[in-house]
């Protein structure tokens, strides 16, 4: 194994090395970090950004972006609680929440494809508009679930692993399988990598993008439902700037923002790095706002190193 091979491995598995590094760091500083309970906790916490990150990875692979996921999850959460409070059966309320998110995702995709506008603009508009819908629906107040058994729906654990985490990991495995085994999944790479070639070869680029936006909307809704069950409330501000955390997790995982490169396994790595950082800093009793500063700085350094390694590799290839 020579230096080049080591460097290539390091660049390919950068996110896992980063994860190992932050885990070792917090394990050394806090006796509470490496406990089964805490690890289960990290997995549960990571599930929310993680579900959003699955959809985001699909959309970014296509060379697009979805900024509306945070607002969508708030709307789905509000619908799930609001509707059952007004007498709907719990299952129907949950279904309505999921359907709303899925439909919004579909609309995002359809507007991007039909208008030719960049998804950054389209979903930025959706972000603001959907958040507005949430405020109208909740009248600006947090909705508290009246049927308290709702909050127990997810209280199922396999060892230290919560049902929330299992749903997330299951979705991740399913969509990774979809990416690598289905025609739609593999074509997603073609669409992001060389859109002209894909179009000329008869790949239905527009339909692809719509499907992936729809998946992103569905997963955002699922995230919102799980959050509403976990908290027993739906806050109108729920999921604010989560779209940004999601994008950071996806990019940390090595997915190329221009599209065509990425995998959900690596996105999982990025999601876990974020969750461990946040968890570890809280175990160390870092004040809330300092936590944000530290995370911002660490993420910039991490992404900087990633960029550096990519450059080094590109130079090795051409040399």
């Amino acid at each position: 194994m020579n230096g080049t091979t080591v460097r290539r491995l390091a660049a390919d598995h950068y996110v896992w090395m980063l994860l190992a590094l932050v885990c070792v760091f917090f394990a050394l500083l806090s006796p509470h970090f490496l406990t089964a309970f805490n690890i289960g906790n990290v997995l549960t916490q990571s599930a929310f950004i993680g579900l959003l990150a699955i959809g985001m990875t699909l959309v970014i692979l296509n060379g697009e972006i979805d900024l509306s996921v945070g607002a969508t999850l708030a709307l789905s959460a509000a619908l799930a609680i609001g509707l059952q409070n007004s007498g709907w059966p719990t299952s129907a309320a949950i279904a309505a929440g999921l359907l709303a998110g899925t439909a919004l995702g579909f609309i995002n995709g359809a507007v991007v494809v039909a208008s030719g506008m960049h998804s950054f603009v389209v979903t930025l508009g959706a972000l603001i508009g959907i958040r507005g819908l949430v405020f109208v629906y909740t009248k600006g107040n947090a909705l508290l679930v009246e049927d308290f058994t709702y909050a127990d729906l997810l209280e199922v654990h396999v060892g230290p692993v919560s049902l929330t985490a299992i749903i997330f990991l299951g979705m991740l495995a399913f969509f990774q399988w979809l990416l690598s085994a289905s025609r739609h999944g593999r074509e997603a790479y073609a669409v992001g990598d060389n859109p002209e070639a894909a179009r000329d070869a008869g790949v239905k680029v527009g339909r692809h993008k719509i499907i992936n936006f729809t998946i992103s909307g569905f997963l955002a809704a699922l995230c919102g439902i799980l959050l509403s069950i976990r908290l027993g409330t739906a806050e109108p501000q729920a999921g604010r700037i989560w779209e940004l955390w999601t994008i950071i997790a996806v990019v940390l995982g090595g997915t190329r923002l221009q599209g065509g490169v990425g995998s959900l396994w690596k996105t999982l790595g990025g999601v876990l790095v974020l969750a461990v950082l946040q968890n570890g800093l809280r175990l160390l009793n870092t004040p809330n706002h300092v936590e944000l500063i530290v995370m911002g700085v660490i993420l910039m350094i991490a992404l900087g190193i990633d960029r550096l390694m990519t450059l080094l590799r590109a130079r090795e290839r051409t040399a």
């Binding site: 999944g185 593999r186 074509e187 073609a190 990598d193 070639a197 894909a198 065509g260």
Partner: protein, 496 residues
């Protein structure tokens, strides 16, 4: 009536240009039919119509005796008509097999990819080519020649019967080219018809059966390759007198401004030596990809050479950075003015002063009155038509934009001005104005290097012309030796 493909009276018009006029073209099964013509003769337009990338305005295309209207590349592919691009249309992150069958991957009932089936079929297509690329190989890791083989494997994969090869040997070595020719002969034997587009005479006479020459969008004739020769084809490609009026500067040469010797950069150009004097207009002619732009980019410091020496005003000098080049008085107007030369969202005045902000400011504060004065001077000198100093250049015509590129460099009083394709895509009137300006500047003592793919232009404005092909200088012509025949020979016959 055994023709595979019959094109009858196809015309295509773009805004301001008649690209094709009543083109007739036939392709027989098992035939390699060359399509030749100068840059802009209409070859690529015809090719795009056949590949379903653009519709024809007029005329008829018969494929196996049946009239067809191709609305998309997919329809063309379904009929077995396949374009192999010069710029490869592959997805580097996908495997060879996935690229070959892109858009037509085998799946089972619920949309799952049948990977083993895909890899097996792609493996067969690659093997049929005698190509050792594995179907699972990531395309981004392949050499250019092997990427091309992956493209060509599509011919087998889709059982194409009409194949358009656009400059297929542009980036191949001799050995790779021989292998490509073997593949072409094999396709011929299977009855595939091939339209072969190339500028290289030796290839045309090695591999083709017939040659059709296009000029200004009109077919000049179809020749049987074995009954003709390169001179005849060359004449058909030129065929016209210099119809535009060109102004050449009076010859009043001063001292040498720039001399380079033994300039080279791996993979781009080799052993390039020349000099240019005050008041001289030096033309640099060659086809696209010959290395002309690369050489001048090196002089301007965008990407320096690997070897070679540079003398500036008689003194040996290190190769400059772009900033140093500008300070020395060496200016370059790049080939693609929209991407490299101008900030299109800004007005003319701001664009002119952009490289000279220091000269127009005091303590970092811009001096508007000076900017305005310079703007007015050059607007009048170059007769630029614009509505005001702040009018965004995006709204102006290509000709007027190009004049602003010139103004931007001229206000720095350069000693050597390098113009890369100075009149590409601009109207005839502006062209003439820019040619006149080049002559005027040379008469005032400026040294000018003009790079152009347009032969009348380079013949019209230059005192002396260097030709380039495949990264090497292939000829130097001045006075009576500056003829179209000589230039075409120098860029096309060098490899023969």
């Amino acid at each position: 009536m055994t023709d595979l493909l019959m094109i009858r009276g196809v015309s295509k018009r773009f805004p301001g240009v008649q690209a094709l006029t009543g083109v007739d073209f036939d392709l027989r099964p098992g035939e390699v039919h060359a399509l030749m013509g100068e840059n802009g003769a209409g070859k690529s337009t015809l090719m795009k119509i056949l590949a379903g990338l653009q519709p024809a305005d007029d005329g008829e295309i018969l494929h196996r005796g049946e009239a067809i209207a191709l609305r998309s590349p997919l329809e063309a592919r379904e009929r077995g008509i396949l374009l192999i691009h010069q710029e490869l249309s592959l997805s580097p992150e996908l495997s060879a097999a996935e690229n070959i069958y892109l858009g037509a991957w085998p799946t089972n009932g619920i949309g799952l990819l049948r990977k083993s089936e895909l890899n097996r079929r792609a493996g067969e297509a690659l093997k049929a080519l005698g190509c050792d690329v594995g179907p699972r190989t990531r395309v981004g890791s392949l050499s250019i020649a092997r990427k091309q083989m992956v493209e060509i494997a599509r011919i087998h994969a889709f059982k194409a019967n009409v194949v358009i090869l656009d400059e297929p040997t542009a980036s191949l070595t001799d050995a790779e080219r021989d292998q490509l020719f073997a593949t072409i002969r094999d396709l011929k034997a299977r009855g595939v018809g091939i339209i072969y587009i190339s500028h290289k005479m030796d290839e045309i006479f090695t591999i083709t059966d017939r040659i059709t020459v296009l000029r200004d969008g009109i077919v000049q004739g179809t020749l049987t390759t074995s009954e003709t020769d390169a001179d005849r084809v060359t004449q058909m490609m030129i065929g016209r007198k210099l119809d535009a009026f060109f102004s050449r500067a009076e010859e009043r040469f001063g001292e040498e401004v720039l001399r380079v010797e033994g300039l080279g950069r791996r993979g781009d150009y080799h052993d390039v030596s020349f000099s240019v004097r005050q008041g001289e207009v030096l033309g640099l002619y060659g086809l696209i990809g010959a290395g002309r732009s690369e050489v001048v980019e090196s002089l301007f410091g965008i990407r320096g050479p690997d070897r070679g020496k540079l003398w500036w005003q008689g003194r040996e000098t290190a190769f400059p950075s772009p900033r140093q080049a500008i300070d020395m008085g060496l200016c370059l107007t790049p080939e693609n003015r929209k991407e490299q030369g101008l900030v299109l969202g800004l007005g003319g005045r701001d664009n002119i002063v952009l490289p000279s902000l220091k000269a127009f400011s005091r303590l970092g504060i811009m001096r508007r009155s000076r900017e305005q004065a310079v703007y007015l001077t050059y607007r009048d000198l170059l007769q630029i038509k614009t509505t005001g100093p702040a009018t965004a250049l995006r709204t102006l015509s290509g000709g007027n934009q190009q004049k602003f590129v010139l103004a931007k460099w001229l206000c720095r009083k350069p000693k050597l001005l390098i113009l890369d394709e100075p009149t590409r895509g601009i109207d005839v009137g502006s062209k003439a104005a820019i040619h006149a300006l080049i002559a005027k500047l040379a008469e005032e003592g400026l040294a000018v290097i003009v790079i152009s793919s347009e032969m009348p232009e380079v013949l019209g404005v230059s005192h002396r012309i260097l030709t380039m092909a495949d990264g090497r200088l292939t000829g130097e012509f001045s006075g009576a030796a500056m003829t179209e025949e000589n230039l075409i020979r120098a860029v096309a016959h060098h490899a023969a």
